[in-house]
């Protein structure tokens, strides 16, 4: 059975607890960034761009069987690692689950405090984009 958003967040928090140095946590982010499948270039569109980042970030959503599946990318690796985390937390859930979820893993990992304002804004913007997609598809579904 698929893990819930909450379960994945818990898992991520535990993974990060294994690292005691910030440097190691960032290297793990780099690792995650490298592992993330690149996004099809044709989905790196202006609409999929997330505002508020120093680097370029894209997040795309596909709606299948009532669930949202996300892909994403960034030209900076650490940011891409963040994208990977966000996608992992939210992907494969239905709009309501996404809209109701609190992305507390960011604070729990301590990233919120450690990230520069520019980047934590970027992270917040990613989550916002994800929730925006959820709302959009929910509305669409509701109308349909």
């Amino acid at each position: 059975m698929q893990q819930t958003i909450e379960e994945i967040q818990q898992e991520i928090v535990e993974e990060f607890e294994m690292f005691h140095e910030w440097q190691d946590k960032y290297e793990y982010l780099i690792q995650l960034g490298k592992e993330l499948d690149p996004m099809p270039v044709n989905t790196q569109t202006e609409e999929n761009k997330v505002k508020g980042c120093q680097s370029n970030v894209w997040v795309n959503a596909e709606y299948t069987d009532g669930k949202l599946f996300f892909t994403g990318d960034s030209d900076a690796l650490i940011v891409k690692g963040l994208v990977a985390l966000v996608l992992r937390v939210f992907t494969g859930n239905n709009p309501d689950e996404i809209l109701n979820a609190q992305p507390h893993f960011i604070a729990d990992i301590g990233l919120a405090n450690h990230l520069s304002p520019t980047r934590s804004n970027g992270l917040a913007a990613m989550v916002k984009q994800i929730k925006f997609y959820a709302l959009a598809y929910k509305t669409k579904a509701g109308l349909a």
Partner: protein
Amino acid sequence: MAKIRENFPILSTKVYGKPLVYFDNAATSQKPQQVIDRLVKYYQEENSNVHRGIYYLSELASAKYEEARDVVRTHLNANSLAEIIFVRGATEGINLVANSWGKHNIVAGDEVIISAMEHHANLVPWQQLCKEKGATLKVIPIDDNGEIIFEEYKNLLSDKTKIVAVAHTSNGIGTINPIKEIIAEAHKKNIPVLVDGCQASPHFKVDVKELDCDFYVFSGHKTFAPTGIGVLYGKENLLDAMPPYQMGGEMIKFVSFTETTFNDLPIKFEAATPNIAGAIGLATAIEYVDSLGRNNIENYEEDLKSYALQKLQEVKNLKLIGNAKNRIPLFSFVVEGTHPLDLGTMLDFEGIAIRTGNHCAQPLMQRMGVAATCRASLAFYNTKAEVDYFVDSLNKVVKKLIS
């Protein structure tokens, strides 16, 4: 050198347990203990408002504040105290000129010339002025090395040109512009020139008389002085003819509800209670650098610059952005296959502070064909050992990111 570094307490702090290597001097400089002590002394023994008090402390603070102005005047080799306006920093200085001089002198159809390497602070005020007045902003192009194309500059100068505003030295790529020639060329057509000296004043002595510039601005915080203070130099006849910029207590001679008579220079442009401690701290910073010997510093930096340049060029896949012959020890670069943001972030964990991004010079970045760079900018308190450590760390970090 070890002794100079001791004057800067922050240089012996640690970041993530590693010694701080501060290579972001173009953003802001560190302050010697002499400057910090001077602030403490001011607040502990001399603080009071300037210019109007008739009691001891106020006369003391006024005297120190005006002495600070004189230190700046001497430093820039300006003719008179009337030519030295204390402002918050370079940005305010440029805004003051664009507003006061600009609004008075620019009309529809006029042209303002800047260069392709300007910091936004010496771009947007002119752009907005032109927009408001129906004037045109002309841009001196630069070549692939990041040097102004002088012939093109000459072609831009015309009867329509009302002012030329250009950086002495680029904060984005380190180019030192041939500012004296730029000024001479403009003066042939009686066009005044404003020089943005933000990145020049931390590195070499500026002589406004020799340059014959009409306006010169720099920021104290980039010149080993406190935050919140800077200088606008202007030729007296120009400043004199300009209307005041901000209105307030100090810059007024007589006021009724129907009319106001403004004060003389330089106070005409210092409307409010000034950053008194900041001005005094700036003077101390200038005196401190003088005490080290401007020549010594220039020689030391020259050597450090060549060393760093050579070391950087040895880094695999590193591409210098900007390759001017005449430059300050400021290096913009990208490393193939990595993003500046990642490099900067991972270097931070090694204790190294560099800047990444567009350096408030987006059009320059565009011209150089990059979205962002890493920028390492050095000051006279940096060392070859730091450069070595930086290059080693850079190699290490690049490996982690690319492998």
